[in-house]
């Protein structure tokens, strides 16, 4: 297990090797995901949607790690806190909210899935479910197919530390280790499985320690350190594409909201703890880092804020006004239908606006 170096005062451009523009894109993505997520809660509390499950506090880690992927080539196997990641793969705010509102044009499920159960075939975002941890086996299978077919692709599997205790995770890491698959397990450790604290989830302090049991590197990163997350994932992608096998990256993140809109986390977390967590919010931290480095100035920050506000309003209005699924479609796609594509390689990814730019 290695722990990624602390950023200190090092310049983020020099440290990451990313351009100023790319870093600003990442800031924009994080801020956009936060604004969309906050809007989702408002819509829920106003009775306009049924459910919210949130990625607030995870955005920096998701943005950093997915920045190392190549959208269109690589795969993301998301979970319900992956709004940032799916937008990094090219999903738009409108698409995210079509799922939130359960509309017919929701590209992942046509209104069949709960909010935040992402999927998008054209963006190589695999369809996700609610029983946690299952997606890692799909990631291993996707990576196995890439390896057997000789295609350079990486499967990034995102999950929480709660999910990481599932048996499927052991089975998948074992298999990925044996076959040195081009897979990355990205564990977003926010310290809670709904209400159960980390010390009641695992006997070891770090999920990454388990990597040793599968002959793969385990890397612990500060989930509020966007560049650090990027660097860890960049190394993992390089290893995967070089045939050196999987990597387990554990990002220590904070969960700024309750588990979901049906949870009240003040019942099991103290006011002091919540205040302390709030201080670890990755959004202001990354903003301050970019400000200090002169990458982000007041004018561009204001411009981004204006664009994001417009994008959130647009996504809300667009999705809320979109058509509901037709009840006559209830039994569609239980099985393949005449005219559906025959089994075979997935279609090439469509062109897209990387970074989930506001529409």
């Amino acid at each position: 297990v290695t722990t990624a170096g602390f950023p200190g005062a090092q310049d983020p451009v020099a440290r990451s090797g990313l351009s100023s523009e790319r870093l600003v894109e990442l800031y924009r993505l994080i801020a956009l995901a936060r604004a969309l997520d906050e809007r989702a809660w408002i819509l829920n509390r106003a009775g306009r949607t049924h459910f919210v499950i949130s990625g607030q506090g995870h955005e920096g880690a998701e943005a950093g790690v997915t920045a190392a992927l190549t959208p269109g080539r690589d795969w993301l196997l998301p979970y319900y806190r992956s709004m940032t990641g799916v937008m990094a793969m090219g999903m738009t705010p409108r698409e995210v909210f079509l799922l939130q509102f359960g509309k017919a044009d929701d590209p992942g499920s046509g209104g069949r899935q709960m909010p935040s159960h992402y999927g998008h075939a054209g963006r190589r975002v695999f369809t996700s479910s609610s029983p946690v941890g299952t997606q890692i086996l799909h990631g291993a299978g996707i990576a196995l197919a890439a390896k057997l077919r000789g295609i350079p692709e990486v499967a990034l599997v995102a999950m929480g530390e709660g999910s990481a205790n599932q048996g499927d995770v052991h089975e998948a890491l074992n298999f990925a280790g044996i076959h040195r698959l081009p897979m990355i397990l990205f564990v977003e450790n926010n310290g809670y499985a709904i209400s159960v604290p980390a010390e009641r989830e695992t006997a070891v302090p770090d999920i990454a320690q388990r990597a040793a049991g599968y002959a793969m590197p385990g890397v612990i990163v500060d989930g509020g350190d966007v560049v650090g997350c990027y660097l860890a994932a960049r190394d993992a992608v390089t290893r995967a594409l070089a045939g050196e096998g999987p990597t387990l990256i554990e990002a220590k993140v904070t969960r700024l909201t309750g588990h979901s809109s049906d949870d009240q986390q003040t019942k099991y977390r103290s006011a002091e703890e919540l205040a302390e967590q709030r201080a670890q919010d990755p959004l202001p931290r990354f903003r301050d880092e970019l400000r200090a480095a002169g990458v982000l100035d007041e004018a561009s920050e204001a411009q981004i804020a204006t664009e994001i506000a417009a994008a959130v309003a647009d996504a809300t209005d667009f999705a809320e006004a979109a058509a509901d699924p037709d009840p006559s479609t209830l039994l569609r796609h239980v099985y393949a239908e005449p005219g559906d594509p025959v089994p075979g390689p997935p279609p090439a990814a469509t062109s897209h606006d990387v970074g989930g730019r506001p529409a």
């Binding site: 695999f126 890692i136 291993a140 197919a145």
Partner: protein, 327 residues
């Protein structure tokens, strides 16, 4: 036409599909060098190598889950679960994932996987090497459940399963592997899903069966024919999709229906057939739709007297035919 055992037909079906389409891979416990504990995959590793025939760890959920992912990325996995009794660790992957990937993605992802598993008792397999598991899977929308009874069907249905765009549970009665023989053509042919066969026609009653019980039912029908009772025997071949028309057309002619399966009676697949007949052919019935099924013990116990007490037999089926005919 060449004569093959049931397991030879399955092996040939796998081999032919692997030769025909390089996307087909086989994975499971001991399927490689050893060729499977029953030797269903014998010879495939030697012909196709490590990249097409994968020995896996003893991790059934992984076998199912990795198949799902590999199918999403362009392969056509054929997974072997060593015994149907061991499929339960994979239930979440099969039911929560494979069965509903197409539905939950609104048709944008598919799951073209085949999961083969030997099932059934009568081979001293005891509680954990003899279960019948079809009812669990037949209940689930999104899955197809295939249970061949002849070598010809085994090969033809397996080809159809591998080419099918949806997940297929392919159940092979292990007692049939070497005890059942039949003609199997060398060339290309397939057997479609959802079409039952009528291997014996008759007018007095309809016997619906599949798998090993189909053979026992045919033997029972031959016995009662000596007493002038002409039973029609239907081989379902696939229980989901179910060939409702063939069942109903037969019962409308005979007026009586006996459903036979080795799986437990309570909540078993026979209840579905019985309900179908009761709902759709009620006016034609002149006797109660009857189920003859495995007793409601948790599978077949080990000791021979207990196993014999558990198992259905041609004699037990013949007795049930006589009782229903006399109603």
């Amino acid at each position: 036409m060449p004569v093959r055992t049931f397991i030879e037909a399955i092996r040939e079906g796998l081999r032919d599909e692997m030769r025909r389409d390089e996307r087909v891979i086989v994975l499971g416990e001991d399927v490689g060098r050893k060729g499977g504990v029953f030797y269903a995959t014998d010879g495939l590793w030697a012909e196709f190598g490590d990249g097409r025939v994968l020995d896996t760890p003893l991790t059934e959920s992984m076998i199912a889950g990795v198949s799902i992912g590999a199918a999403a990325n362009g392969l056509l996995p054929v997974a072997e679960i060593q015994f149907a009794d061991f499929i339960f660790p994979a239930m979440n992957q099969v039911i929560s994932e494979a069965a509903r990937i197409r539905y939950r993605s609104n048709g944008t992802y598919g799951c073209p996987i085949t999961i083969r598993a030997p099932y059934g008792a009568g081979v001293h397999g005891a509680l954990y090497h003899s279960q019948s598991v079809e009812a669990f899977f037949a209940h689930v929308p999104g899955l197809k459940v295939v249970i061949p009874s002849t070598p010809y069907d085994a090969k033809g249905l397996l080809r159809t399963a591998i080419r099918d765009p949806d997940p297929v549970i392919f159940l092979e009665h292990k007692k049939m592997y070497r005890s059942v023989r039949g003609e199997v053509p060398d060339g290309e042919y397939t057997v479609p899903f959802g079409r039952a066969a009528i291997p014996r026609t008759g007018s007095r009653l309809t016997v619906v069966a599949y798998g090993l019980m189909l053979h026992y039912a045919l033997e029972a029908a031959a016995r009662v024919a000596e007493d002038g009772i002409e039973a029609e025997v239907i081989d379902l071949r696939t229980i989901r999709p179910l060939d409702e028309e063939t069942i109903l057309a037969s019962v409308r002619r005979t007026g009586k229906c006996l459903v036979v399966h080795e799986d437990n009676r309570f909540g078993g697949f026979g209840a579905e057939v019985a309900a179908l007949v009761a709902e759709e052919a009620f006016d034609y019935l002149d006797g109660p739709v009857t189920r003859l099924a495995g007793p409601d013990s948790p599978a077949s116990p080990n000791a021979l007297p207990l196993e014999e007490a558990f198992m259905l037999s041609p004699a037990k089926i013949a007795a049930a035919i006589r009782t229903l005919t006399a109603y």
